[in-house]
């Protein structure tokens, strides 16, 4: 019929699009078609709608914008004929999603169609509702759907059941309304209705405890009987899949039994027999049977202990693991991770096979196997497993090395029986995959080396040998350079030889060669070069005989294009040239880095500024850090030993120039207090410390008591040191400890994790928004923000809506607000969840828009929030 009207037919459009040879040509055809469709829409001829929408759907699938067709869907849905409604609902589901407001307009049509006399129209409406309804629509239409669960035709009953699943997912409060209707479906014989009914019950049980109790009491036995019936049923061609009668129903029943049995010994007892039967009788040579077995194993592992069943389950997994089908092996690895929880020994027996899976050509299997192996590691097998993994690291695919090396590092760190073993393994990893290792891993290695004084000589020699072979592994080079800088004298003199070592001959000039190599190699990155420069400075004092050569290398860097390098080269040269008297004390070996602090810092639970406060209380017991604190107060002192008052990691970063953000120009603005670097700069510029710093520190000294009495104030300074406080917050930390000795207060604050002060995010004459913050444990990137909106006006706001936008590195999730009506001088709250992928590097920032009606008039307010506390 369409042929008598203008425009091409759907089939012709598809043909002409397929005939296009280039993307540009295709765009041209689509553009023309879209123009025709728009024109046709404007003419508003009902005869073309059907075809227009079909074309738009095709165009939509190709990825072109089709929003202008959205209203056509609604018109088609509202028309009386079935063909129009059918395509209209299809378009609705394809072109719209639940977040579009246009969708609300369809609620009324849906309501009418749910009450339509033709059951297929009712089916269309149920399907659309089940696939894209929003929470509001769910609320509005729930009574209709609930009624349809009892409809005479099974086709409608099953659709209504799944539609209800969506409704209770969207609005869990509605769950109890569906309990009765859902339980009536469990008695059905029609498979479709039974499957969807079981699914609905499962959904209700997971969201509503009452429902769980109800179904457990009333339905467990019935479900077991149903499962037994289909398990034992004779061949039914309609439902048979590879010898299993309706695997889909099997799986859903097993899933529901799982939640009913979980945490309830009586219900678990009832289902033991049938589970044993399914586990032993199900054919396992086809995928359908394995899918059922897999579900059965999962149920056995989740219900209350019936150890004989678990033996069965573990055996099935063992069979799966040795299956030649990759899919089966994959799910076996997956399930064994859960099985570890109750039978570690049984899983350990498969260790060899699992290790083989780590080397599988299939990335999905490798990944699962690696996860599983890392759960299998314990003190007894760590050496053997690590050896296997490291051996494989040497030959594994490049793209797998990153995951693999990260896992090895974490295993080695967690279970290392002794330091020398740890150092050996880390050197192997860095040699094989040093390019791919994350910063915190090699930082940790340096901290451990620093603490193992009896191994300094051994380590520096091992590193020297490794770096000659693997000079392209960036982080290996860094650690080697650091150690050569610190322990160069031990390297050349073979000090502290262990029995297992072969003596090597390294001249001073050989050692400098390695460092020079790193600084001149063009693909070394800035961090490595900067570290090399510091190492050279240190060696200039350790190796007086070749200090001229070292000086030459430093001088060359004065011409570096990198500002940081240039500046350091000039500074270091001046130390070598003009300040020989202080040089040797300046480049003394680094004091032992504080492991405890580093680990706390690394865990990411503390922002930089807090750890400076917390650290002295940790390290005072070992008596190393206490003395230098005096120097910190004496800012004029030329003694670089003051630096240890900065925490271990800071120390590393500052002295090594690892944190390149802290070039002098930026140091004023950078958030972390750089006691070490500041001092160094003071020394280098030979400037007397600025009076301002002295003043502020004495102010802090005086106000220390006040800070102690007012924790929120103290936290303020802790968590958000404004730039002017940078120098003081470090020294204030020192003060604390000098004054309080072992006072527990700062460390307590530190272990509780940081708290963040609330902020006023926005304020206008009528509206004030306050944010309070909390961090969920476990994920430092995530912040929960509770926004409180306060109405400052004498009138009520209605239709209140808060919208927010964040830059790409942030992810924002908005919960619904507690209300959309804001009474005079009242308030409402809304929770936001922000995930900061650049946590520690960038602060939060947010733009927002608030809309509401005040005395019937729309009001729009906008603003940007820049005053988030640092470190979120």
């Amino acid at each position: 019929m369409n042929s008598i009207f203008s425009g091409t037919r759907l089939r012709d459009m598809i043909r002409s699009i397929r005939a296009c040879k280039t993307a540009a040509e295709e765009r041209g055809v689509v553009r023309k078609e879209c123009a025709d469709i728009r024109a046709s829409i404007n003419e508003n001829d009902p005869h073309d709608r059907h075809r227009n929408l079909a074309k738009l759907m095709f165009i939509h699938m190709l990825g072109y914008p089709t929003h202008f067709g959205q209203m056509e869907c609604l018109k088609l849905i509202a028309s009386p004929g079935f063909p129009e409604k059918r395509i209209g609902y299809l378009g609705l589901m394809l072109l719209l999603d639940e977040r579009q407001e246009v969708l609300m307009l369809v609620t009324n049509s849906l309501k009418q169609d749910l009450n339509h006399t033709n059951q297929y129209v009712v089916g269309l409406a149920l399907c659309a509702l089940g696939n894209i309804c929003s929470a509001e629509m769910a609320r509005d239409l729930a009574p209709e759907v609930e009624r349809l669960i009892q409809f005479r035709d099974p086709n409608i009953r099953k659709k209504a059941a799944l539609c209800s699943t969506r409704i209770v997912r969207k609005v869990p409060d509605l769950a109890e309304n569906f309990i009765n209707a859902a339980s009536s479906l469990l008695k059905e014989k029609h498979h479709g209705v039974l499957i969807t009914g079981v699914q609905l019950c499962y959904e209700l049980c997971t969201i509503n405890d009452e429902a769980l109790e109800y179904f457990r009491k009333k339905c467990t036995e019935g479900l077991i009987k149903t499962l037994r019936d289909i398990t034992n049923s004779a061949y039914q061609p309609e439902y048979d899949v590879a010898g299993i009668t309706d695997p889909f129903l099997h799986i859903r029943l097993l899933k529901l039994l799982r939640v009913l049995g979980h945490g309830d010994a009586d219900a678990s007892d009832l289902m033991t027999d049938i589970l044993a039967q399914v586990a032993t009788k199900t054919e396992s040579n086809k995928n359908a049977g394995n899918a059922v077995l897999y579900e059965c194993v999962e149920t056995i592992m989740a219900i209350e202990d019936t150890s004989s069943l678990r033996v069965l389950a573990i055996n099935i997994l063992g069979r799966f693991l040795s299956n030649r089908d990759n899919n089966i092996r994959y799910v076996a690895l997956n399930m064994l991770m859960k099985a570890i929880a109750f039978d570690d020994q049984a899983v350990q027996r498969h260790r060899v096979t699992i290790l083989e899976c780590v080397k599988d050509p299939d990335a999905s299997i490798r990944k699962r196997a690696l996860e599983l192996v890392s759960l299998l590691v314990n003190e007894n097998n760590v050496k053997q497993l690590t050896k296997e993994l490291i051996d494989y690291l040497e030959i594994s695919d490049e793209d797998f090395k990153e995951d693999l090396s990260a896992k090895i590092c974490s295993i080695v760190e967690k279970f290392s029986p002794e330091k020398i073993w740890y150092i050996d393994q880390m050197l192997k990893v860095l040699s094989e995959a040093g390019k791919l290792v994350k910063d915190d891993v090699w930082h940790a290695l340096i901290v451990v080396i620093s603490n193992a004084s009896e191994l300094h000589g051994y380590t520096v020699r091992a590193l020297y040998k490794a770096v000659l072979t693997y000079s392209e592994q960036e982080t290996l080079v860094r650690v080697a350079i650091w150690c050569i800088g610190e322990y160069g004298d031990l390297l050349v003199n073979n000090v502290g030889m262990l029995g297992i070592e072969d003596p090597i001959t390294v001249t001073e000039s050989d050692a400098v060669d390695v460092v020079e190599d790193a600084i001149t190699r063009h693909n070394s990155d800035m961090t490595t070069k900067a570290m090399a420069l510091v190492a050279l400075l240190k060696l200039s004092s350790r190796f007086p005989s070749i200090s001229e050569r070292i000086k030459d290398i430093i001088v060359k860097q004065k011409g570096s294009l990198l500002l940081e390098m240039q500046q350091r080269a000039i500074e270091f040269n001046s130390i070598v040239d003009r300040h020989k008297n202080i040089r040797s004390s300046l480049v003394e070996r680094m004091p032992v880095l504080d492991e405890a602090t580093f680990n706390v810092r690394r865990a990411g639970s503390l922002p930089a500024s807090v750890s400076t406060m917390a650290k002295p209380s940790v390290s005072i017991p070992n008596g190393v850090a206490a003395a230098p604190l005096v120097d910190l107060l004496d800012l004029g002192s030329d003694d670089i030993m003051a630096a240890p008052s900065s925490s271990g990691a800071d120390f590393l970063q500052d002295l090594l120039g690892v944190d390149l953000g802290s070039s002098s120009a930026q140091s004023g603005a950078s958030p972390g207090p750089k006691a070490g670097a500041d001092l160094l700069m003071d020394i280098l510029s030979i400037g007397t410390p600025s009076p301002a710093q002295n003043n502020t520190s004495s102010v802090d000294l005086l106000s220390t008591a006040g800070i102690n009495n007012n924790p929120s104030n103290a936290l303020d300074t802790l968590s958000s040191p404004a730039p002017p406080h940078i120098a003081t917050s470090a020294s204030a930390g020192g003060m604390f400890d000098l004054l309080d000795g072992l006072s527990p207060s700062p460390s307590k604050e530190a272990t509780n994790g940081p708290a963040y002060p609330p902020i006023v995010a926005y304020e206008s004459s009528t509206l004030k928004i306050e944010f309070t913050f909390s961090k969920p444990s476990g994920n430092p990137q995530e912040t929960n923000v509770q926004a409180t909106f306060i109405n400052l006006s004498p009138d009520t706001f209605t239709d209140f809506i808060f919208q927010a936008a964040v830059p790409k590195f942030l992810q924002l999730h908005l919960d619904p607000a507690s209300s959309n009506t804001l009474p005079a001088s009242g308030n409402i709250t809304q929770n936001l969840r922000v995930t900061n992928s650049q946590h520690g590097k960038k602060s939060l920032v947010m733009r927002m828009r608030i809309g509401y009606k005040l005395n019937g008039k729309d009001v729009l307010e906008e603003g940007q929030i820049n005053n988030f506390p640092r470190g979120l």
Partner: protein
Amino acid sequence: QIHFVLLVSRQGKVRLTKWYSPYTQKERSKVIRELSGVILNRGPKLCNFVEWRGYKVVYKRYASLYFCMCIDAEDNELEVLEIIHHYVEILDRYFGSVCELDLIFNFHKAYYILDELLIAGEIQESSKKTVARIISAQDQMVEAAKEEAGSISYIIAQAS
């Protein structure tokens, strides 16, 4: 729960997309691009599962078409393979040994069939026969309406 269904040809052309969880149009095209990149590049004989953004994507290739379904990490991957196969078998019966071209020119039919198989990302019907019956009943209603409209417009055309 199935979050979305995706049919992609070996050349990376999208043949069908169905979203059961909210994704904006922008996210949808990103998801399609990302996943077809990963899946089309996987070699043969590897397992049919890809871990992706904390979810799992189960895919299976039939001739030139990849059928993909995205599920939660704890869902039963093997069952989803059966669901995919179930869908393919129904398509096959409906079109009579289905090929990619059938699904291109009759893409709406492929959607209608999928809607009789899945709602809210859950399976609705395990009997291929039942699905076929319901689809053909609806097709007949469309045909009947067409004939009726044809005859009315014919009469109107004659009269004027």
